[in-house]
Every structure is written in C-alpha cells, then in structure tokens.
C-alpha cells in the first residue's frame, strides 16, 4: 500500500500520465507510461550541436535494429529537434496536489553532449578507436559501462534521463509509433483521432506501411 505525497500525488500523476506526458514529471514506477509525440512544430530555440557521427552511432547502438536505417535516422532527427525545441525553466503545468508554481529543469543537452563525447573517449581508451568504428556488441558494452549507475525499473522520460543513451532511447520509446510496435497494433496513442474508430479492435501493425523498413 503506497501513500501519495506532494511530489508523487497519485491524482496528478494519473492526470499527467493519462495524458501520457513526459518531461520533468517524476517517473514513478507504477504510473502510466510516458509518451511524447514527435517534436512540436515550433521554431528551434537552439542548436543542440551533437556530433552527428557519434549520435548516429549511438542510435545504431541503442535503438532496435528492426527499425531499419531510415527508422533510426528518423528517431535521431526527432530527438535532435526535441532537444532544439526545449525551453529550460519553462513553467510546468500546475495541477492538483500542490499550489506552488513549478518550473522545468535546466537544459540537459550540454551534459548529454559531453556524455556523447565521453563515450567516444571511453572507446578510445578501451579500444583505441572511435566509438562509431566499433562493432555493435562493443558499442553496447561501452554504453552499458557508461550507464551502469543509472537505476530505475522503467525507462525514464527523456527529460528525466541522466545519460544521453537513455535519453535517445527513451525519446524514441515514448513516441506513438514505438508504442504501436510494442503493442503490435495501430493505436497511435496521444494523437488526435476520430471517435469512430474507438469501438473497434485496433488493426494489426502488419497492415501498416513501415516507414522504418530498411531500404
């Protein structure tokens, strides 16, 4: 039996997570999953300035190979756009359970950029070669080593991720497309859809064209 607290207030958590939101919301085990739709159609506020070769290699390391090259590339593009659009210390949605106004965290990108660079340095130390040049197994081992202190039961929301590898993976995993892949059906959670389709059993994913298929 758990008891809710101001920072983990169950009604607020539900309302947030029922909207399946992400961001700074604490990723408390047992609350509904987080989903981000693809990056907002807004002007980028900055350039995250990740090393594109390193980020691409990281994507190939942590994202499912079954997404295909195009799917992984699309996930990287969406992640970078999401980073570029983030406004540090913007006001959070205030809701039930507390009256004070709260703000989103500082920009996580500088730390993520440094971690990406650190992965490459780690590879140089261990393998005397760039991260991007190593095999999948070696790259995965490097990522595992770099994230060994990351704890938690559930993949955190992107904003709560304290390593770039987790953030990239989490951003992809929180998209409607990823959820559909996991569920094996066409639901497209958190996208605006007509009411008409709500009563029917969702169609299998196999009938959908797969934009991530290898070309």
């Amino acid at each position: 039996m758990s008891r809710t607290t101001p920072s983990g207030a169950n009604r607020r958590e539900f309302l947030i997570s029922a909207t399946v939101l992400v961001a700074a919301a604490a990723c408390t085990p047992g609350t509904d999953a987080t989903i981000v739709t693809d990056s907002p159609r807004t002007q980028p506020l900055r350039d995250a300035d990740f090393n594109p070769v390193q980020l691409s290699a990281l994507a190939d390391t942590v994202l499912p190979a079954s997404l295909g090259t195009a799917g992984q590339r699309a996930a990287v593009t969406a992640f970078v756009a999401w980073c570029d659009g983030y406004e540090p210390v913007a006001e959070e949605m205030h809701g039930y359970g507390y009256a004070d106004v709260r703000y989103l965290p500082a920009d996580p990108v500088p730390a993520w950029r440094a971690q990406l660079d650190a992965l490459d340095r780690l590879s140089q130390r261990v393998h005397h070669a760039p991260f991007a040049s190593r095999s999948l197994a070696e790259r995965q081992a490097l990522v595992a080593q770099a994230t060994r202190s990351v704890r938690g039961e559930r993949l955190p929301s992107p904003l709560a991720a304290n390593h770039v590898a987790i953030a990239l993976l989490s951003h992809w995993a929180s998209t409607p497309r990823a959820w559909d892949l996991a569920l094996g059906v066409q639901v497209a959670p958190m996208t605006c859809r007509t009411l008409d389709g709500a009563t029917k059993k969702p169609l299998p994913i196999a009938t959908m064209p797969d934009p991530g298929a290898r070309t």
């Binding site: 758990s2 009604r11 983030y86 205030h94 359970g97 559930r154 987790i166 993976l169 996991a182 959670p189």
Partner: protein, 540 residues
C-alpha cells in the same frame, strides 16, 4: 497610482470568471435586462487557435499550455490539495478534465437518510432543472445510467462518448462483480455542437483540448462579450466589499488593477455575486472586515471560511486477463453510482467508482531481470512481452464529511503586493468521518481485490490519497442553510446578513459528495442566478 479610484457602475457585479460565473452570466443575460459586470483578477490565457501548439509542447516537455494564467503573489497556502493557483479568464475550468457527473439524490439528505453530516436546504429534484441547464449550456455527453441510481428529468443533451474497445471489455469484467457501469458523462462534444468540434480522442482533455471539443468557459465569455450585455474587466482584483453599516447592503467593491499600473478601482453595484471559488470567495469576505463587521462580511455565524469540504480516494491498478490496448482513449472511463446509495443500516460509506484502461506495467523497462541495460531489439522484445498483458485502473472517491474547523483563515505571513494577507486552508474531517476513515479505505481495497479476483486478475498496486494534504474537488467555506446561525447563505445563495450579496457555486456547498464537483458547482450557481433574475424581474 491614482488616489481617487476610477468608479464603475453596474447593476450586477460578478466577482470571478470561472465556470460558475460563466454559467450564471449566460443565464442572467437571457433572463434580465440588467447590466452585468464581471471582474477577473487575471487575464485571458491561451486562445483556441494556439492550443494545438500549446498541447504539443505540453506533451513533449510538460510545459504549461496556459501562459500567464496566475498571479505570482496571489496564492493559497496550507493543505492545498485540489487547489490550483490559476487566476485567468475561465478559471480552473480552462484546464479541467471535463468529467461531469451529477451528485446523487442522497447527497442532499445525508442527515435525514444516514444521520451524518447535514442536509442541504434543497433536494436533488430541486436542482435537477439546473443540472440540466448546466449540461445544456456547457454541452455534456452522457449515457443514462440505471434510473434508480441516476435519475434525471430530461435526457443528456448529447449522446455519450463511445464505450471504446477497451472499456467494452472492462464493462463486462466489472459486471462479473455485479457492478453496473456506463460511459462517464463528460463536457466534451460527442458530436459537433455549438460551433465546436467533435472530440478527437487527443487524450489531453486535462489540461488542454486542442480542438475545443471540451467545454471551457472562455467560449461563453467570448459569446457574452459580443452581445455587449456583459462587461468583462480583466486584470482587476477586488480586494474589499464595502457594506453600508446601517442596511448591510454592499454598496461597492474596491480593488486594484493587477497590471503594472496598479490603478485603484471602485465598482458600485446593486447586486454583488461572489463566484470566485472555495478559496477566494470566503477570502474576500474575511478581508472585507470593518468596524461593523469585525469578523468579516456575511459572518454573523462565524462560519465564513469554515466547513471546507472535499473527498479522498483509493486507487488501484489491476492486472486483468483480457486483450486491452493502452492508448485508445485514456482519459475516458466507465462510471458507476452503485455505491452512492448504501443501505441505511450499514456503517457509513458512500463512494463512486471509475474504471479506465491503463498502461501501468506495460511500459519499456530500463534493465532486464539480470540488471542488464536493455537496448536495441532486446528492449523491443522485452517490451512486446510486457505490452501483451492488460491493466485496468479503478478508483473510488469516498465521501468525507467536513468538520466546522475545516477552514480557511487569513495568513499574515503571506501577503500580496497590496499587503493583503493570503488565505491558508486546512481540511479536517468531521468526527464521524475521522472515525470511519481507516475502515472505509479498507472496504474499498477489499472491493478492488474482489473485483480483481472475480475477473480472474490480481492487484498490481493500490494507493490512497494522503489525508493530511487536503481534499479533492474542494468546496464550502460559505455554506448554505436555512438557519443564519449555522450557515452563511440561504438556500438560494443569498447572504443571510446582506440582502444584495450572493455567494455562488462551490463555496456555497454543504458537502462535496464523492464524485467530481464542477457540474454541481455550476448547477448551484445557476440556481442562484435564477433567484437573482427573479428578484430583478419583481423589482421592475
């Protein structure tokens, strides 16, 4: 700052622009010829055309979709669970979830039926036409429940939101525990109506509907302002009501602009309506103390700010053996009123019941059972396996009877830019509720356990609200009643002590039932509006 306040004259002054105020103004425009001035301390927030982008940023980052919807120095302190600092045109209902159940008939006769709490000064049947009016004005989509449990004089104005693929299975599952459920009534367009779109299952009803399918009070204000029958004064904080020492009539409201000018404002009105919610309505009455009313206005009974009411909940996630697919329409649910009418002979427990789909336990994991970081196809394989299960969420709000000392007081430790003390709230159960608290929650946990077993499932997790933080869907603070010594306003919302002062909606409520309160706040406000209109008609 000007020394002499700018003075505005109005027939009817409404303080606050939330959903109760919007409903009342719409009623008054149609039923009187009197001029109406509405005063709102905040400003208009995100217009409909900007809500698609606001929603995207909310979903992507958790940003508030409602820009500048509060005043930094105007907030409540204490146990503020259920309170929001929103101070904007439309009030908290700009970001409500749209869930619109009625209270049950029993709520209005708790003392007569169960020997606990207090009866309201009117019955469910008395309120039924105003419930209907509120449902018509905001547009509620609903399904008629079993008539004995869910009586209503007329049909819902719109067909219900559909029982979707997930909810249809959950409905059958609940039936195995002999629980009748139906589509939760919601102020969301199940069909295009009143120039607003049909719901598109965007699943961000709370906090922002990008299409306008969910009712928000700005819709009403936009229409009313266009009629030129209503003047909406934004960024204007009413800080005091001034009562004539001899007659007790409220002769003016005074305050200041909340913009940079801080300009002093005075509004002289024949009728004054407080529709500023359970915090700001009693707060203004307490702030308005003077030599003739040293404890604040309307406070002969000493009950202004007292009997704050709300409810708590027990919530559970259940693993259920059925092919649910999370994400079809997460914010829509099943509802039951079956437990709002317990036998008189039993110990007192009244509660609602809601059932949702849930993705709890279906999310991707960070590490596998061996503690290894999951990534790549291994993560997707693990996720697919987890996603193949199904989770239901159930929650019951249960009735909490308010104590007299469940109260709001002025807190000199926190002041706004004008030096006014801010409110501090502290909820307290009536002794009967305090004594039943543990037993009531145990009963609800047992119910959820029975439901899980009857459906062939089990409990993933259960939790209850923290009872020392406040209560949900809060109301009260200016309770209604027939006796001026045990209530602040009469059964129509008129202050016992001031013939031209009315308190409307949430603060006037005697108790807060065990379900979402907004529709009842609006219906009670409409009943007050009808009395004001009737009085105006008889005076002319």
């Amino acid at each position: 700052m000007r020394q002499v306040p700018r003075t505005i004259d109005a027939d009817i002054l409404i303080v606050g622009s939330g959903i109760t105020a919007a409903m009342m103004a719409a009623h008054l425009v149609e039923h009187t010829t009197r001029s109406i001035t509405v005063v709102e301390a905040g400003r208009a927030s995100t217009p409909l055309r900007e809500r698609t982008l606001a929603r995207e940023r909310y979903v992507a980052y958790g940003e508030s979709p409602w820009k500048s919807d509060h005043l930094d120095d105007q907030n409540a302190f204490g146990t503020t669970w259920g309170f929001s600092p929103s101070m904007t045109v439309g009030g908290l209902a700009m970001h409500w979830g749209g869930v619109s159940p009625r209270y049950s008939p029993e709520d209005f006769r708790l003392q007569s039926l169960y020997g606990v709490g207090d009866d309201w000064p009117f019955t469910y049947d008395d309120l039924d036409p105003f419930y209907q009016e509120a449902e018509e004005r905001m547009g509620v989509a609903g399904e008629q429940g079993p008539v004995a449990l869910d009586p209503r004089g007329k049909p819902y104005p719109m067909p219900p939101l559909p029982i979707n693929y997930n909810l249809a299975q959950l409905q059958q599952w609940a039936a195995k525990s002999d629980i009748a459920t139906w589509s939760t009534p919601s102020a969301k367009n199940s069909v295009a109506r009143d120039g607003r779109a049909q719901c598109q299952r965007c699943d961000t009803c709370y906090p922002v509907c990008p299409t306008g399918a969910k009712y928000t009070p700005d819709v009403t204000w936009d229409a009313l302002v266009q009629t030129k029958r209503v003047t909406l004064l934004t960024e204007t904080l009413v800080r005091r009501l001034v009562a004539d020492a001899k007659t007790g009539r409220i002769v003016q409201a005074t305050g200041n602009r909340t913009d940079a000018s801080g300009e002093a404002i005075a509004i002289a009105a024949k009728t004054v309506v407080l529709a500023a919610g359970f915090v700001w309505s009693p707060h203004l009455l307490l702030l308005s103390r003077d030599s003739a009313h040293p404890e604040g206005l309307a406070n002969r009974s000493g009950l202004v700010g007292k009997y704050l009411a709300g409810h708590r909940n027990v919530n559970a996630y259940l693993r259920v053996p059925m092919p649910l697919v999370p994400g079809i329409n997460v914010q829509h649910s099943l509802v039951s009123k079956q437990f709002m009418r317990p036998p008189r002979s039993s110990r007192y427990l009244r509660h609602d019941l809601r059932v949702w789909e849930s993705s709890v336990g279906r999310e991707p994991r960070l590490r596998d059972d061996n503690g290894e970081l999951l990534m790549g196809d291994a993560l997707l394989r693990d996720w697919k396996q987890r996603a193949s299960g199904a989770t239901a969420r159930v929650r019951a709000y249960y009735d909490v009877l308010p104590d007299r000392e469940s109260k709001l007081v002025l807190d000199d430790a926190h002041t706004n830019r004008f030096g006014d003390p801010m409110p501090s709230v502290g909820f307290r159960d009536a002794p009967v509720s305090a004594a039943l608290h543990a037993w009531q929650e145990e009963q609800l946990r047992a119910l959820f356990t029975r439901m899980a077993k009857a459906g062939g499932g089990d409990i993933l997790r259960m939790e209850n609200s923290a009872n020392d933080l406040g209560q949900e869907h809060p109301a009260g603070g200016c309770r209604m009643g027939n006796d001026p010594m045990t209530s602040v306003v009469d059964g129509w919302g008129r202050a016992h002590d001031h013939e031209n002062l009315w308190v409307a909606g949430a603060p006037a409520q005697v108790s807060a039932s065990c379900c979402n309160g907004t529709l009842t706040f609006a219906a009670v406000g409409l009943r007050t509006a009808s009395a004001i209109a009737r009085e105006g008609a008889s005076a002319t």
